[in-house]
């Protein structure tokens, strides 16, 4: 049994706000759900599957708040920012098993106005929590080791931000719309060696949602059929101290999702690569097979990720580095831009011509300590 072809994405919505002081977190989730359902031509009463992660707070409360009365399947798996790519896989699995027909996935929040949602403590807490490690310095440790083993440079990492900024200039909702240069990135303040401020994503409020259903229902709605053709998820931890920081969990998910879809990295016309930091992108590109391990620096250099210029257009909405990283979780917006590309609804300046095959991948949690990974292949079916 395979996930290939069992489900299609029929509705997407990205909240236009990047700062939301006047709305509640639940309200933002609701607005995102409303937007995605409207895009699909569906109503809340049609929804029988619901998926969300820790940003939604207490799962039961969010379901009750939105008045989702007809749920027959639900899941609140939280693997950080990549949760929503895993939810795509989980929802399609549930649809394939007949557990639900129309699944809603939401993400939203207000990290600048709310206190961070408390995360349940793990068994490692005594040894790790007191240090106060945060994503910038934890991801930085992985970047340092990658540089040490493969000679990756800060200039090469900077090209990832440069490419994202080239795309963000066309997105009216993007937080950062100025095109930047490699020198701009290198001259931005050092946050956590070797990552500069511009190696880091934005912190934004707002959110997004998408709707998954059967291909039959997708066709009946008259929407472009954006079909899930392959998906995979994995967890990578410290493994009792045997952790190797030169690769991410995407090594277990990218190739597997492509194999299920029956495609190769060179077939992919557009890629949404979760970009919490520049190193996150570089490592996933290697791990998913877009280039040889250790050659990610050369692969991303000289504009290779810029739509219309390079071989692999990525994050054409400006990504988390420039556009939006709602609630410090960038996986959902990765799915949205892939769907826009496949529908031909990306901004004309960044739309990939005849884009019929897209790849989405993300890692959530912390790259250098423990994280989840999820990948998906999406295809527009004529």
């Amino acid at each position: 049994m395979t996930i290939k072809g069992v489900a299609s994405i029929v509705g997407i919505y990205e909240h236009p706000l990047r700062k939301a002081p006047d709305k509640s977190t639940a309200q933002l989730h609701y607005e995102c759900a409303q937007g995605a359902l409207a895009d699909a031509g569906l109503t809340f009463d049609d929804v029988d599957g619901y998926f969300c992660a820790g940003d939604a707070g207490w799962f039961l409360s969010m379901v009750d708040y939105m008045g989702l009365r007809n749920l027959t399947y639900f899941d609140a798996t939280d693997i950080g920012g990549s949760s929503y790519i895993a939810h795509l896989n989980d929802a399609a699995t549930a649809i394939a098993m007949g557990r639900c027909k129309i699944a809603l996935v939401t993400l939203a929040g207000r990290p600048k106005n709310d206190k961070p949602m408390p995360r349940p403590a793990g068994a490692e807490a005594g040894w790790e929590t007191p240090y106060g490690g945060s994503p910038p310095n934890i991801y930085a440790m992985a970047a340092h080791r990658h540089m040490h083993e493969y000679g990756t440079t800060s200039e090469q990492l900077a090209w990832i931000k440069v490419a994202a900024s080239h795309h963000a200039q066309h997105n009216e909702h993007a937080m950062l719309r100025d095109v930047v240069t490699v020198d701009d990135v290198l001259n931005s303040p050092m946050i956590a060696d070797p990552l500069h401020r511009m190696d880091c994503c934005v912190v934004s409020e707002g959110g997004g949602a998408f709707i998954i259903t059967t291909p039959e229902i997708a066709r009946s709605l008259g929407k472009a059929d954006v079909r899930l053709q392959g998906a995979a998820q994995a967890i990578k931890g410290q493994d009792g101290g045997r952790i190797d920081l030169t690769y991410s969990g995407a090594v277990h998910t990218g190739p597997k999702a492509m194999e299920e879809a029956g495609v190769k990295p060179t077939d992919i016309k557009y890629a949404s690569i979760y970009d919490s930091f520049t190193i996150t992108v570089l490592m996933q590109l290697e791990d998913c097979g877009f280039c040889e391990k250790g050659k990610g620096g050369a692969f991303v250099a000289d504009g290779n990720l810029i739509s219309g210029q390079g071989k692999l257009p990525f994050n054409t909405d400006g990504g988390g580095l420039c556009n939006n990283h709602p609630v410090n979780r960038g996986g959902l917006t990765k799915v949205l831009e892939a769907v826009r590309q496949l529908r031909g609804e990306a901004h004309p300046a960044v739309q990939v011509p005849n884009c019929d095959l897209a790849f989405v991948t993300g890692i959530g949690g912390t790259l250098a300590v423990r994280h989840g990974a999820a990948s998906a292949v999406l295809e527009r079916i004529a």
Partner: protein, 129 residues
């Protein structure tokens, strides 16, 4: 970085012997009698082979820096995180003492140490040697 801004570790029944030894300046790891491997952080049942209860072992805490970073801006001041690859094998996620912030490099020798944090409780750190 000031130690009094670091919260004290909260022991569990499983980790209490580690923190008791830490109060005496001794660093403990656990090793599995079935697979012979040491691991970190300490777990009662081996997380590597899953076959046996592991045993406490005192370690000199010496090793080489596998990777590092200095967080330049933080409410508690600049501080360094690293993975120290112990001579026994495990790579340990650890904070370096602030005196070493400007001298860290992959491959340098270092050692686990303990320093009081909030409530005067000992927390695990590392120092260059």
């Amino acid at each position: 970085m000031s130690y009094d801004k670091i919260p004290a570790p909260v022991p569990t029944p499983e980790s209490q012997p580690f923190w008791d030894a830490a109060a005496e300046g001794r660093f403990l790891i656990r090793r599995c009698p079935a697979c012979g491997e040491a691991h970190f952080y300490p777990r009662t049942i081996c997380p590597l082979c899953h076959k046996a209860d592991t045993e406490w072992e005192e370690s000199p805490g010496t090793g080489t820096i596998y990777t590092w970073t200095v967080m330049r801006k933080s409410p508690r001041g600049a501080f360094a995180l690293a993975y120290l690859e112990l001579d026994e094998g495990p790579r340990v996620y650890v904070q370096f003492r602030p005196e070493d912030n400007d001298d860290l490099a992959i491959g340098k020798r270092a050692q686990i140490m303990f320093h009081p944090v909030q409530d005067g409780q000992p927390m695990m750190f590392a120092k260059l040697i």
